[in-house]
Symmetry: C2
Subunit: 362 residues, 2 copies
């Protein structure tokens, strides 16, 4: 198996992923719960209790200690479940949801799966969703709108406060996808409201296996109240518990345990330090890239940075051949970096040195 | 964390789950791939290669080495994806799928999620789906039918060969849910065709984390050919690979690695021995239960056994209070046991002794 493992990129060469090396404590907790099945919570009561505590901690972190939800397989399941709850509660024929053009592709997937039309709202010049375009796209078939707090491409934050007002005014639900930003924004911009402090926000995606330093799989969906969770219920005849809300059936407790370990034993203050370090490295990367003549797409809002270049794909492919992973975005054409905790100053130095050589040779 | 772990039932007291303690080799492989993300296969090439090999091995095991598919979060995702592929290929308004009454509740969940009407066909006196009722329920909106090879309640096997003929005749797709039975039937009844040997079978659910002795999460969906997988494709703009077929985005490689370890280093012959041992214990359980006056619902087809009793819930609840997990089915009212590899002769002896005491006291 080691032979296969060596073919995986090591994280120290990955500048394009929102996952990272989990903390050793998270790994230890993961292994301890490796056999537990949260699909059968009456049998795995300890694991279930851990999940309840994780939901309470994350609900409080999102300013709603009474939030209901569960630890998902990741952000995609969380986004699907939010839209499913909206659809099931509104009960409209041919429903649609309005998302920003910058929304993660999981919304396209959710649309296909759920039979919901996904309408894409334009972005403004700062790559935040254009509120007037969201308003234009809402009609009597709209069950919800989506705001992104930390876009996949740029780490930009949509005007969630305005979206919240609009959602209340139009009587549609609002889902906030902060799969990545949920563990970043509260540390960098504690006064920025993107969560349950805003009355219109009905659900939030926040993934411990991204900036929460937990092991895969650990996403999370939080709902403002029970009503949304109930809209997902399916009867479970042969189990002791009577209903199931999760998209999956059998469900690992590993991500729950690793998340609990991080939140309880390392804590939010430690995560704040991790995020601040990531921001320092991000700014260092921006400096180094600009020294090479690249232009930033936006001032980094979080630990994601993009640099315009028409040769983005060419550069990415040559870096890939040399064992480095960066990614490419199309609008605008740019190289994209996610500066996760495994991306240290030293990794940036090594990367920049390789990049210089690549630029000389392509 | 140990305090929480102690609140989980140990597997040696669980007679109601289709999960079990994975083999130590599976755990070792799991841990080795704990950081890999199959949602980004261009970066985790070793993990992806392992998955390709697992799919090839399981495809061959199901008599179609060219089967396409992937390792899912479990049987629920596999069942959802099969129905989604059928729906997307048939492109009918208000689609329906006909499933046996004995189908797992994941089909109700899939129906809600996908907007597919789930029609339930009656069972015959042996709790196998009634073919004429399936035929009666098929109409011009039917995109597929489902057969169960190893029902959740009784471990019964539907007449898949007949369903296959019917599917071809009616021009609908056929999905076989052998989440549990896929790793049992080929060992006990090697001549019984329930897989790709039958021309009508388009997709199969077979879960390594059930009788495959792998770690959670490891389900598997296999499709007869590429066409079904393509019907699930979503574009992935910022990744190096261009499309994604899985329901989830970020996706652990742990279940893939543990499945590979089991299939490659322990092998199908070893699994066959495990299954035969489970059957021996099952027959021993039946003997012991009948000695206590319980009547079997059917002769056990696989390592699942049910015993009629009007006091099923009462008995289950008292056993639960004493730290033993069994489950209850409603049609007919019975106690249900799944005799997984962790359920040894000794476990049965201890259980029967507790059960005797329960019966004296309730």
């Amino acid at each position: 198996m080691d032979e296969f493992k060596r073919k995986d990129f090591p994280y120290s060469r990955i500048l394009s992923s929102m996952c990272t090396t989990p903390h050793p404590l998270a790994v230890k907790a993961h292994v301890k719960f490796i056999t537990s099945n949260l699909g059968d919570p009456a049998l795995f009561r300890g694991a279930k209790e851990l999940e309840d505590r994780v939901i309470e901690m994350l609900g409080s972190f999102m300013h709603n200690p009474k939030a209901r939800g569960y630890v998902t397989s990741g952000g995609t399941e969380a986004n699907i479940q939010a839209l499913r709850a909206f659809r099931n509660l509104k009960k409209l024929a041919n429903p649609n949801v309005v998302v920003p053009e910058s929304a993660h592709f999981s919304f396209d997937k959710a649309g296909d799966i759920l039979g919901i039309e996904i309408r894409k709202a334009r972005l403004d010049e700062d790559y935040r969703v254009d509120l007037s375009d969201v308003e234009r796209l809402i009609d009597e078939k709209t069950v919800g709108i989506v705001g992104i707090a930390g876009t996949t491409s740029l780490g930009q934050i949509d005007p969630i406060e305005d979206l919240s007002k609009l959602a209340l005014e139009k009587d549609v639900f609002l889902h906030v996808d902060s799969a990545f930003g949920g563990f970043v924004i509260p540390f960098l911009y504690p006064k920025l409201k993107f969560d349950f402090r805003l009355e219109g926000v009905c659900s939030i995606t926040i993934d411990p296996h991204k900036m929460g330093m937990a092991t895969i799989p650990a996403g999370c969906i939080l709902f403002r109240d029970e009503r949304f969770l109930k809209a997902l219920a399916v009867k479970t005849p042969y189990l002791i518990t009577e209903e199931q809300f999760s998209l999956t059936g059998t469900r690992p407790a590993t991500g729950v345990a690793s998340t609990y370990a991080v939140l309880k034993y390392l804590g939010f203050e430690w995560l704040k330090k991790v995020v601040k370090r990531c921001m320092d490295v991000t700014l260092y990367l921006v400096e180094e890239m600009e020294r090479l003549g690249f232009e930033r797409v936006i001032d980094p809002v979080m630990n994601v940075a993009c640099f315009k270049t028409e040769r983005a794909t060419e550069i990415r492919d040559e870096l890939y051949r040399r064992g480095w992973a960066v990614s490419v975005i199309e609008n605008p054409r740019a190289l994209r970096f996610v500066v996760m905790p495994h991306v240290t100053f030293r990794v940036i130095d090594e990367f920049i040195s390789t990049l210089k050589d690549v630029l000389r040779n392509i």
